[in-house]
């Protein structure tokens, strides 16, 4: 279990009473596991299709922008180490309740869409092991299973988290080894790494498109704010682990994209649902192809599961926070009596993700956009909006609540990150305006919850209690 170390800051007064449990190393692997699982297993084919053989550049640019955003998070976490994240920072910076509500809903929506995209990626790799069941059924059962696991609380094991991160890294190391082996055999054509196959679009725009598509792979680091509160010595370890995790993830991404580009023709990557599997299928390593394919599929499934679990944990947590703020019905603050899980929030979240998957499967496709592409784009739009506001909040909150231990992000870099986030956001909306309809649909879920609380929540509220003050009745759990 978690290594419990004494926290020097809070421990003096109480002999070992106040303890935190997440070490810097665990946080590093939490970040790495969360980021790595999200995209590269799922999206590499789409990015290759947009850019051509040089698609590693898209990953490099994307992860740089994400890492810069990570420095803003690191600065804000060292100032406000509560487990609250973007909504708290934006609230501190702007003090505007509507904006705070919007950010919270966006974060929740991003998490819903991400779960959907990841579930779809899970189904793609699952189909390589067993083609029997339809993808929709696999995705729905996957989400259901993760919600049950979350309810039971198995996800809480730090050891399992570390183990999953290691497995994810192992999968990507396999791809890199294949690349190195291929180069060592002398078959590699390095020309492909600078090959742009962008159709009619010019190169910078194609790269931007690739970044927009690959950006899903960079997300996930924002969830580390969840455990900030329980990190030992957060001022030192948080910036180091978060940014370190991003840099390592970025390096792995670039190397993996290069390996994939060298070993598999770009058009084949582009057409594949489980693109990294194509690299393994090339049979470059002198190991049984069947064995490697199965092994790799299992690794990919574990990687995707790990990242989805974090999303599934985040959703009811956000709903719980909102219910305590009285902006969604109090029933979301309901905690199961013995398992201490917010079971209503869990069920509701699973329902929303399930609905997304069903709608996405049966909605008419727009210009051949697949479900996974759609949902990952929706996630990215929400997150880019949040990232942009977090960077602005970071700059706006300069000079406030600072002490010697506060991590300070580089200001010029923050501006670069700001421009980058806005550029990707702008391109994504321009390229695929339909995504906005999906975004609106998800935000509407949050607004409906607010309206339900606003109009029906008052009934259980005593006349003398103002909105925003939770009452025992409105919590519904006592």
């Amino acid at each position: 279990m978690a290594e419990t170390t004494t926290d020097p800051m809070t421990d003096e007064a109480d002999d070992g009473g106040l303890r935190r449990s997440i070490t810097g190393k665990q946080l590093f692997f939490y970040t790495l596991g969360d980021v790595l699982g999200s995209g590269i297993y799922v999206l590499i084919g789409l990015v290759a299709a947009a850019v051509g053989g040089a698609f590693w550049i898209a990953f490099a640019v994307g992860v740089s922008i994400a890492a810069i955003t990570g420095t803003a998070y690191a600065e804000l976490v060292t100032k406000y180490p509560q487990a609250a994240g973007a909504a708290l920072y934006v609230n501190k910076a702007f003090g505007n309740r509507v904006l705070t509500f919007l950010i919270t809903v966006c974060f929740l929506s991003a998490s819903f869409a991400a779960s959907g995209a990841l579930a779809d990626g899970f189904a793609s790799y699952f189909a390589t092991l067993w083609e029997g069941p339809p993808a929709l059924l696999v995705t729905l059962l996957f989400i259901l299973a993760l919600s049950i696991i979350n309810f039971i609380g198995i996800t809480e094991s730090v050891v399992i988290n570390m183990l999953m991160a290691f497995i994810e890294i192992a999968g990507l190391v396999i791809v890199m080894v294949i690349g190195i082996w291929y180069i060592a055999e002398g078959d590699a054509d390095f020309g492909v790494l600078v090959d742009f196959d962008t159709g009619d679009t010019n190169v910078p725009l194609a790269i931007l498109a690739g970044v927009a598509l690959s950006f899903f792979a960079m997300t996930g680091f924002e969830n580390t704010a969840n455990v900030a509160e329980e990190t030992i010595d957060p001022h030192r370890s948080f910036p180091r682990s978060l940014i370190g995790g991003m840099v390592v993830a970025g390096t792995i991404y670039v190397l993996v994209s290069m390996a994939a580009a060298l070993t598999v023709p770009t058009d084949k990557l582009a057409k594949s649902d489980a693109a990294l599997l194509e690299v393994v299928k090339t049979g470059i390593l002198p190991i049984s192809n069947d064995f490697m394919t199965t092994l790799f599929s299992v690794i990919a499934l574990i990687a995707i599961t790990n990242t989805t679990l974090v999303a599934v944990v985040t959703q009811p947590r956000i709903l719980y926070g909102m219910a305590n703020e009285d902006v969604v019905p109090g029933v979301f603050a309901k905690i199961h009596s013995s398992r201490r899980s917010p079971w209503v929030g869990l069920l509701f979240s699973a329902g929303v993700v399930g609905a997304l998957l069903v709608v996405g499967t049966f909605a008419p496709e727009v210009e051949g956009t697949s479900l996974i592409e759609r949902l990952s784009l929706v996630t990215v739009l929400f997150l880019l909006f949040i990232y942009t506001l977090v960077i602005i909040s970071c700059l706006k909150l300069r000079g406030q609540d600072e002490d010697d231990r506060t991590f300070r992000a580089s200001t010029p870099l923050l501006f670069v990150g700001l421009v980058g986030n806005v550029a990707i956001f702008g391109w994504s909306v321009y390229d695929d305006p339909t995504s906005l309809i999906w975004c609106a649909g998800l935000v509407a879920v949050g607004v409906v919850l607010f309206l339900v609380e606003y109009f029906l929540g008052t009934r259980s509220r005593p006349a003398d209690v103002e909105r925003g003050v939770p009452t025992t009745e409105s919590r519904g759990d006592l």
Binding site: M1, A2, T4, D14, G16, G17, L18, R19, R20, S21, I22, P81, Q82, A83, A84, N150, I152, G153, I154, T155, E156, S157, V158, N161, N226, V227, E229, E230, V313, T314, Q315, P316, R317, Y320, G321, N324, E325, A333, I335, H336, S337, S338, R339, R340, S341, P342, G345, L346, V469, P470, T471, T472, R475, D477, L478
Partner: protein
């Protein structure tokens, strides 16, 4: 004797504390440690159902789950105010059962008090609850306070 009273922020854990007070002899207890465990990777790291509503809201906004745990510990500790034994408040972080057992070992506890919240199938069917695991692995006697039958109103 040092008694560890665990709280997960539930009403049941408060009842467990009162149960202890209802029969135990305060002259035989030297210390009481009220222990709350925060679960960093859980959906809700600590849910405080004990403090007044305003306090809960303020906790979540200002101090996060750690403040919520602190408030819950204070409510449970207040049960033993003026009873005799010295009362300590402790917040730990990690897996609840593991941390409660660790606390018992470190404090050389003579008794640990836990609440068992479950009435229904979830406790019997699903992987062991905190109370079950504490019962199995605690280094000292365990008092498990079970909920009253459902028929009776709280």
């Amino acid at each position: 004797m040092h008694v560890v009273v665990a709280t997960d922020g539930s009403q049941q854990s408060l009842r467990a504390a009162k149960q202890l007070k209802s029969f135990a002899d305060p002259t035989k207890i030297s210390d009481i440690s009220v222990v709350a465990v925060i679960r960093p990777l859980a959906a809700v790291a600590f849910a405080d159902d004990l403090s007044p509503a305003e306090r809960r809201k303020a906790d979540l906004q200002a101090g996060g789950f750690r403040a919520a745990a602190q408030s819950a510990v204070e409510v449970v500790a207040s049960v033993f105010e003026g009873w005799g034994p010295k009362v300590h408040e402790r917040i730990r972080s990690g897996s609840p059962a593991t941390e409660i057992i660790k606390a018992c070992k470190q404090l050389n506890a003579g008794l640990v008090v836990v609440a068992s919240g479950g009435r229904g199938i979830s406790d019997t069917v699903l992987v062991g609850s905190t109370a079950q695991r504490v019962q199995h692995y605690a280094p000292c006697p365990v008092l498990v306070v079970r909920p009253a039958p459902r028929a009776r109103k709280k």
